[in-house]
Amino acid sequence: MSRKEELVRWLEKELDGNFISAEATIPGRLFIDLKREALSAAATGLMNRGARYQVGVGYDARKSGQGFGLVHTFAFDKDSLLVALRTFAPEDDPEFDSLTPLIPGAGWSEREYQDLLGLRFRNHPNPRRLVLSDDWPEGIYPLRREVPHDLMPPAAEEVAFRLEEAPPGTSIVPLGPFHASLHEPAHFSVYVDGEDIKGCEYRGFMTHRGIEKLAQTELTYNDVPFVAERICGICGSVHSVNYAQAVEAAAGLRIPRRAEFIRMVALELERLHSHLLWLGVAGHLIGFDTVFMQAWRIREKIMWLAERLTGNRKTYGMVIIGGVRRDINQDRSEDIRAVLKEVEREMLALEKAILKDRTIHKRTRGVGYLSREEAVKWNLIGPVARARGVDMDARRDHPYAAYDEVQFEVPLADSGDVWGTLVVRVKEVYEAIKIINQCLDKLEKLPKNEPLSVDLEGPIPAGRQGLSLVEAPRGEAVHYVLTGEENRPERWRVRAPTYPNLQAVPSMLLNNKLADFPIIVGSIDPCISCTDRVLVVERRSGKARLLSGQELENLSRGKRSKK
């Protein structure tokens, strides 16, 4: 009996009348509908069977008379199975049981829907605002249908930026929203006793761009991949491929083989340049600028290559629903091989220099330690989890595109510290090179004139669910799509890898030195723009106005002459 059947049978029996239906149209996916009373019991059961919590998705289903929907997704990595539990709550009583006491990693998802949809979670240990700013007026829930995507309400009055009190005996060092070691806005208020970190509070979600809301109100299915690419400043293809896969799964579309391999090449190229970027940034964070310069010099070759392949260094614009837009022909394929060969050679030299450097050992070993158990408890993913000995990789465990046809290793480390994440990332660079070379081999053997994309055979029926994973450089990214009417998704949820990893950062920081703060936060390779993706509007005092260069100059001069 497969895991899937076993789960369905157990849920039917255990939940009795609270079980509504199970849908398993695609291999590796299981969509279950429950009554909300049974949510907690079902989640407990899944966790006891070894599931890994992924993300919560809330949506406004009042149009169909179902109130508010809430989906929690779980992964069984050993069985290549993803399970989505969906429940509904009526509009006048949008309350669910909180899963956070059971699964700490669910805390953010629940707080997010508390802010955005006005859902309530019984027994949530920390029901404070997460996504919305403190001066966002009460009672406006941006993700609800009736709220327009460009709403700019006046700020609530007399509300200040709220932070928790520092524990006795400590003082607060504010790091962020603007700080030299953060490349994107996030606020950490770090409680220190001398140089020792005794705790930390994170406030983020400062760059809301309303991308999910936009997809539900303004864009069409085929527009979204290009917006999705702009979620992240590093890994654009991750989100566009992931979204396309989710829609394709919902629509039952099978893309051409050639397109699968081309998507893989794009994804792995991103992993290459992302890991090299991280290596450089990590070097900079511990004050080793030579590593920074050398890693970015190597990375630059890949950026040039990406431009040659796609026309852009970033935001490749390659992915559409049903396939890709550009081919990788024989010439390009040779270009790639040449660059990869060079990158591999230079990477070996850099690796030798880094792995043997005593000062790097001093700064990374034992720093930001988190045990394997903690890593599992917080649902850590990607290199951050693999550095703690958690053997997981969406490419292997839940193969998408054609990852089941290529051979690669999943590098692991068991040191549980920043050093481990460094080793894992360095090794992954070679695996990515290996994968790209295999993809090119396969591409060269495939027929040349095959179309690169297939068209949909008609509108996608509304109400279908699609769930997709992509192993981004930072870990697994989850996209959930619920198809809707008017040629656009009813709900599209992006869960970037930083979302779970960032939740565990306070645990990693505990009892480390303040000097190690940058590299510990850096070790998860935080991508704040991915994490902050949701919401509606940037807050502005009045109307935005474009200033010409001359006006800007006058303004800055005016300020100076005033003094």
Partner: protein, 323 residues
């Protein structure tokens, strides 16, 4: 005549003007070398090979808005850069650059000038601490505390390492120490260990990677200098450059035989030898990552201090053998 000579000594060479120009040159040299070690170009734009870049930077900063934080100790905050610069420039006068000759000693060469020089080189560290402290900024305060913590680590090994050659030369006077090793170059090799220790300690004193902890950009932004801007920052930067020259000059005097040969040849000697020292300092900067302040102290007391004492023992033994 003597007055004119002293004035020239103070203002032109090796005093203000020379030290200013040479400090900026050494900054350029350090930046260029560091950049080339990282496959970068370094300064290229201002002047030939970017030689004038540090001077351009200096004057640019001088012209920038100069802000004193409201809560800072205004007097202290403003006076510190000038005092620091004065101290470092005074220290430069003690180096036996022109007054190398023992027959015609000038006022700044006296028995014990080595100790005075070391003392003058310690003062900038306190200036940095006070600068951080008087800014009242959190990052500055942390930076200031780190400055002092580091001082406890490197100061003793530095003193021990620099005093060893003096013990062997049997003099506390820089000109005499240099002359001693010029006469017996082989004996300079005895101090090799001390030279390495002193290099590392000077790197720490100058707060350069791996010891750039008090102003670790990614941790505490500008550290001690977070609140400094405009003229005051420009003077601090010049002070650090000049401190590098003086420290390199000190090492060149006690370990590399000083700068013989009169005004012109002495100048060449001075430039070559200090550049050699700065070369090593740049090399260290390019090949290490920043370590933590607790690691500095434990490193200094576990390795540097015992090795410095070992060096002193070697020197005493050698001294017994040759006498």
């Amino acid at each position: 005549m003597a007055t004119v000579k002293t004035l020239i000594y103070l203002i032109v060479y090796p005093g203000l003007l020379f030290l200013f120009l040479y400090s900026t040159f050494v900054e350029w040299y350090d930046r260029k070398l560091y950049a080339r070690l990282q496959n970068r170009m370094g300064p290229t734009h201002t002047g030939r090979f970017g030689l004038l870049q540090p001077i351009a930077d200096f004057f640019k900063l001088m012209a920038k808005e100069d802000i004193v934080p409201d809560r800072a100790d205004r007097k202290m905050f403003s006076v510190l850069p000038a005092v620091g610069l004065a101290i470092v420039f005074t220290a430069m006068l003690l180096l036996p650059v022109w007054n190398y000759s023992l027959d015609r000693p000038s006022v700044t060469s006296f028995n014990g000038d080595l100790i005075v020089l070391l003392y003058l080189l310690s003062l900038p560290t306190f200036i940095f601490f006070l600068a951080g402290w008087s800014s009242t900024n959190l990052f500055s305060t942390i930076g200031g505390a780190r400055v002092l913590t580091m001082l406890f680590g490197y100061e003793v090994p530095l003193f021990l390492a620099v005093l060893s050659p003096a013990v062997l030369a049997n003099s506390w006077r820089l000109a005499e120490i240099a002359a001693f090793y010029r006469q017996r170059p082989a004996l300079a090799l005895v101090n090799l260990l001390g030279f390495v220790i002193a290099l590392i300690c000077v790197q720490a004193k100058l707060e350069r990677t791996p010891f750039d902890i008090p102003h670790a950009e990614t941790e505490i932004v500008g550290g001690t200098f977070t609140e400094y801007s405009g003229k005051k920052l420009a003077i601090f930067r010049l002070m650090m450059d000049a401190e590098m020259v003086v420290a390199a000059g000190l090492l060149a005097t006690v370990f590399l035989g000083g700068f013989p040969g009169g005004a012109l040849l002495g100048l060449v000697n001075f430039i070559v030898k200090t550049l050699v020292v700065v070369f090593f300092l740049s090399l260290i900067r390019a090949t290490t990552s920043r370590i933590r302040v607790d690691q500095v102290v434990s490193f200094a007391w576990k390795y540097l201090a015992p090795l410095a004492i070992l060096q002193l023992l070697i020197v005493i033994l050698v001294k017994g053998l040759i006498s």
